[in-house]
Symmetry: C2
Subunit: 332 residues, 2 copies
């Protein structure tokens, strides 16, 4: 691939934006020019890319002239406002927000799962929710050998999913608890230090929150299986940047632990961490900064004759967001 691309990152100063820059660099993406876009208050600041200091510009409707690929991670409302302008300027938008994910004309892509969907794009490609990406990277190879009919998943989600400010709040609040001083509770509605709580997104009439409904809808769309049954419970835990998920699946044909291990050991983007004798399994601190999704505790679901159970961990900022977006760009 000798062609080089003009790339823009909208939301370059956010937690995911920063990782997008690092990921482009790390994966030696064929970048001609990199344009960093953010809100007014960051204009004039610089961020390093490939040995250069790049001056941050204001995200605007005119920002996308000459841009080939625009990576958006500036929140849903900014995506809705500016992505159409980027498309009009001729850029392909890869959007990390939930703004367009369920739009019929917008492919929702995990490169290890449904790379072929990229071809259908009409200017915008959506990056799925972090919890969905991390889950599906592990589930897809198992789905391919025997259709998965039901998923029961409980998440252990890090602060990074709520942005850089939330990560800072976890650190600061933790210090405050240890020093017995007054707590700053701002980025989250509840204390996050030494605490956990149900994901603070809107609760729908059926009792599921928006984060859980995203996992259901997005998994069905990505796997192209509307009959897939999913029961998610999404919980925020006092972890900085990697998500974990405890998963039970039921399949049409019972897949053995041995078969699952064999399939997963050859699966792209997956690393088996399942050392029973040393009690070593996937942990957030081990996947921080890593591209793979770790899976372990792979065992029969002893409560069912169709099930498997396992525990997964993935870096929310990388595979859950920035890396997946750059991988989509690579498909282009």
């Amino acid at each position: 691939m000798s062609k080089k691309f003009n790339i823009a990152i909208a939301g370059a100063t956010g937690a995911v934006g920063i990782e997008m820059i690092k990921t482009l660099e790390h994966r030696q993406f064929p970048t001609k020019n990199l344009k960093l876009l953010a809100s007014k208050r960051s204009i004039g600041k610089t961020l390093a890319y490939d040995g250069q200091d790049i001056v941050i510009e204001e995200l605007d409707h005119d920002s996308f002239n000459d841009i080939d690929i625009a990576l958006f991670s500036a929140g849903g409302s900014r995506s809705k406002e500016f992505a159409p302008s980027a498309v009009k300027s001729g850029a392909v938008v890869i959007d990390n927000s939930s703004a367009f994910r369920m739009d019929h004309d917008v492919p929702l892509v995990v490169p290890e799962v449904n790379p072929e969907a990229v071809k259908r794009h009409q200017g915008i490609i959506a990056n799925p929710n972090c919890t969905t990406i991390i889950l599906l990277v592990v589930l897809k190879p198992l789905y391919d050998i025997s259709r998965i009919t039901r998923i029961i998943v409980s998440t252990y989600q890090s602060a990074s999913g709520a942005g850089a400010k939330a990560m800072e709040e976890l650190s600061m609040q933790t210090s405050q608890v240890l020093e017995n001083s007054e707590l700053t509770i701002d980025a989250f509605p509840h204390q996050i230090a030494f605490n956990l709580f149900s994901h603070n997104s809107t609760i729908f009439d059926n009792g599921y929150c928006e984060e859980e409904q995203k996992m259901i809808n997005e998994s069905r769309k990505i796997l192209n299986d509307q009959s897939l049954q999913i029961c998610p419970t999404t919980i925020r835990v006092p972890i900085l940047r990697a998500h974990a998920e405890s998963v039970v699946i039921e399949q049409e044909r019972k897949v053995s632990v041995e078969e699952a291990n064999k399939i997963l050991s050859a699966a792209p983007g997956v690393k088996i961490v399942d050392d029973r004798s040393n009690n070593y399994f996937p942990m957030p601190i081990d996947v921080n900064g890593q591209d793979f999704v770790a899976v372990g505790r792979i065992r029969d679901d002893v409560s069912s004759d169709k099930g498997l159970s396992f525990f997964i961990c993935g870096d929310q900022l990388l595979k859950g967001a920035a890396l997946n977006a750059v991988q989509i760009a690579e498909l282009l």
Copy 2:
């Protein structure tokens, strides 16, 4: 009840032992004399009970003369060594360790669930594992209206379950991470600060760890239902003293959310915390020091036509251990 009892606490200086003393006081248990027993290194220290300073004595085979009820929380090996001596001295032993739980002659009791089992005791009554107690307090009333056939549960277990030293390690290690200094990893095999990991108990051949196998075996024994199917995943999280559990159940007859709410709102030891409009659900910091088990996120399992899903939180040291033991003593 005008009769007063001579009580001994074996393991009085541990995290659970301390809570046992507080719980006896708080519930105004009819105590004549309280004897505090611990290992050699604590002899001569004092702990306050009901306005008195009680001098700690060494746990020994002769410690139980005149004792009516002996609360043991000094680990399984000490229970095995000293509980028979206590029984020989005429005491009833309420044992918080796993040493006798599965013995046929030893009742395993959660007072809200199977108080009648206490009568069968032959000197020893066992206190179940903390995760089992907290789960069953919520499940029993639902089981009574429609038999539960399957439970899928993922836990979020606090450091307190591994004792006072583990709680101190979580606090200390968290400071060390924030100060970027070297970590003390001693009470747990892995970093616990800003991390989580699979419960560090022995993994059996079927891939389940001892903590998970306890939940299966103990739940079946307490509910007297060997056909109950349970798939547990037990995870340690950086929380100080309350456990949380994400639970999906299947029942013979589908129980509606309304019915479940009605039953649980009248259930002993249970508090419904399920404020969807304010996104307020059970949280560890809210149940610290509380006697009740909080349950919320009560909703249909959308992946099944027989299921319900909910999220529970309970103080591991109280309902998960000390309180349950004192409640058993009250039954006597």
